[in-house]
């Protein structure tokens, strides 16, 4: 028998035990194959559970593991490095009919996956006020200034109160007081050893997304202001710098600040 046949049988419990397998006592090898089948699926479910603890709390362990079992069979890992496993879980949850009753579940999944990506992302020193001052007093066109975000930074825009929901599950705030239907945007970033989840003020998510796409200060601010008339650039810059979300201030064509 080939490894292809063995591999197929691992993820498809309905397939018969491949030919060519045996046990010393002549017993049905299917029961022994079940050990491998269970190891594969349950270890992958465990990996998913480790990455999405709040998602599991929201739906309960039994529901979560049943949902994850379907997921891991449909989307087994394509990498030998499991740290980032679960990228497709949010879209899967979006389309998972039994989870429809929790409309914000997929966005919580997205937030938790962003946290894991941030946890293992490259390290970088934050932009300091001195570095920013130096760039701003260089005499160049400030509107063209590019602010580079930390490699761990990502933004999540949600129609639901994902930051408040997530925080309440960390013991920060009262879950029963959270209205899930209030839209929130999250910034996820790991400036040091700890991953931060911050609620972004209006327009700030659009601003950060623009920065990450390489927009200069003027264009990014205009996009943000177009979305939120009360977009407050100094306040948002202070928020981002205060949490280590920016690492470099540079002008196009220059290598660094």
């Amino acid at each position: 028998m080939t490894q292809a046949a063995f591999a197929a049988a691992l993820l498809t419990p309905d397939l018969p035990c491949p030919a060519g397998l045996q046990a010393w006592n002549g017993s049905d090898p299917t029961a022994r194959l079940a050990v491998y089948r269970n190891n594969v699926v349950s270890s992958l479910i465990d990996a998913v559970a480790d990455t999405f603890p709040v998602t599991q709390e929201l739906v309960g362990e039994e529901f979560f593991r049943a949902m994850a079992a379907v997921f891991v069979r449909q989307h087994p890992p394509r990498s030998r490095v499991l740290a980032h496993y679960g990228r497709e879980f949010a879209d899967f949850v979006d389309g998972f009919e039994p989870a429809r009753a929790v409309p914000y579940l997929a966005d919580v999944v997205r937030l938790e996956h962003a946290r894991v990506l941030a946890y293992h992302a490259a390290d970088a020193d934050p932009l300091t006020a001195e570095m920013l001052d130096a760039a701003m007093s260089s005499g160049e066109d400030l509107g063209a200034l590019q602010l580079v975000c930390h490699p761990s930074a990502s933004v999540l825009v949600s129609a639901y109160a994902i930051v408040s929901l997530w925080a309440a599950h960390q013991g920060d705030g009262d879950l029963s007081a959270v209205d899930p239907a209030l839209p929130e945007s999250a910034l996820v970033v790991r400036p040091g050893l700890d991953v931060l989840v911050l609620r972004l003020p209006p327009g700030a998510a659009r601003f950060v997304i623009a920065l990450q796409a390489g927009a200069g200060l003027a264009d990014a601010s205009a996009l943000a202001a177009g979305e939120a008339a009360d977009f407050d650039l100094p306040k948002v810059l202070a928020l981002l710098m205060g949490h280590g979300a920016l690492i470099t201030a540079q002008f196009p064509g220059s290598l660094s600040q």
Binding site: M1, T2, Q3, A4, F6, A7, L10, L11, G20, L21, Q22, A23, W24, N25, G26, S27, D28, P29, T30, A31, R32, L33, V35, Y36, N39, V40, S43, L44, D46, A47, P76, P77, R78, S79, R80, V81, L82, A83, A118, Y119, H120, A121, A122, D123, P151, S152, R190, L193
Partner: protein
């Protein structure tokens, strides 16, 4: 960068697996332990706390780098990108030992996150030897190959596991990572004698020993089926077998493996102390193991 075929290896002491929940505890308490072992794949990430803590702990202790994803038993060729990642980790952390399993874990693009069995036939032997050769050539160092826990046998096998492993070791010059729990698990599962199995191995090539716990199940005929779970303390039967191995090998770098239901660092260190105590007792000439007698 050392060409580490001559590296000193791990100290002949007990070590434990390094778990993220114990990072700070290790740095604060600096336990008296021979070495730490990590799964290489967990550190194949760009940055963050895993590298932060491993770097600091590596400054204080010897490190064993234990791979679980190279898929040396795969029919297809080795993943060169994965070898590159291993090489980068070796250069960064200078481990005293590098080990992998006699098993496969990937097929096509899919990674199964489990150690899957191979038939013990000529074709597989040639393939595994090619893969071990490639690993040692690419990484410029000896690797240790671990005997597996298995639950099934292949009709295609033409030799037993000990003979297969011995031949891989002879042909490639790799060392043996003797997992004593795996010996007990596989020998129970296939109705073999553990001591005969161990006696058939080239014990002079052992570079490290693993000890772990197993779970107990039954096969379709009701025969015991032990499962390598790494989720419980080492069983008494495995401690006895370990003592028998030590009587033959002398003190050996010995890892207490615990990957599930991970207890406190203190509990792991207590278990490691038992291995350390056995090594001390057996190192005394008149207190050698029961199994092969004193001579």
């Amino acid at each position: 960068m050392p060409k580490a075929r001559t590296d000193a290896g791990l100290p002949a002491k007990a070590g434990v697996g390094l778990k993220p929940q114990h990072f700070r505890d290790v740095l604060e308490t600096r336990p008296d332990i021979g070495f730490f072992e990590v799964h290489a794949e967990n550190y194949m990430v760009d940055g963050g706390p895993f590298h932060h803590f491993l770097g600091r702990i590596r400054d204080l202790y010897p490190l064993s780098l234990h791979g679980v994803g190279l898929s040396i038993g795969a029919e297809g060729s080795l993943d060169e990108a994965h070898l590159d990642r291993l090489d980068a980790l070796i250069k960064r952390y200078q481990p005293a030992s590098l080990s992998e399993h006699l098993a496969w874990s990937s097929h096509g693009e899919v990674f199964f996150n489990d150690l899957l069995p191979v038939p013990y036939d000529r074709a597989t032997l040639d393939c595994v030897c090619d893969h071990v050769d490639r690993v040692q050539e690419r990484l410029q160092r000896q690797m240790l190959l671990e005997n597996p826990s298995t639950y099934l046998e292949f009709e295609a096998s033409t030799m037993d596991e000990a003979a297969f492993l011995s031949e891989v070791i002879r042909r490639t010059g790799c060392g043996l990572l003797l997992d004593v729990n795996n010996v007990h698990v596989s020998c129970t599962n296939h109705s073999r004698d553990s001591l005969d199995y161990i006696s058939s191995l080239p014990l002079e090539t052992v570079g490290e020993i693993h000890l772990a716990g197993f779970a107990t199940d039954r096969d379709a005929a009701g025969a015991p089926l032990l499962i390598d779970s790494h989720g419980s303390p080492v069983d008494e039967a495995v401690w006895s077998l370990y003592a028998a191995v030590l009587a033959r090998t002398g003190p050996m770098p010995t890892l207490l493996e615990r990957d599930n239901h991970v207890p406190s660092l203190a509990t792991l260190l207590n278990e490691a102390q038992r291995a350390e105590d056995l090594m001390l007792v057996l190192a005394e000439p008149k207190r050698c193991g029961d199994y092969w007698g004193c001579s």
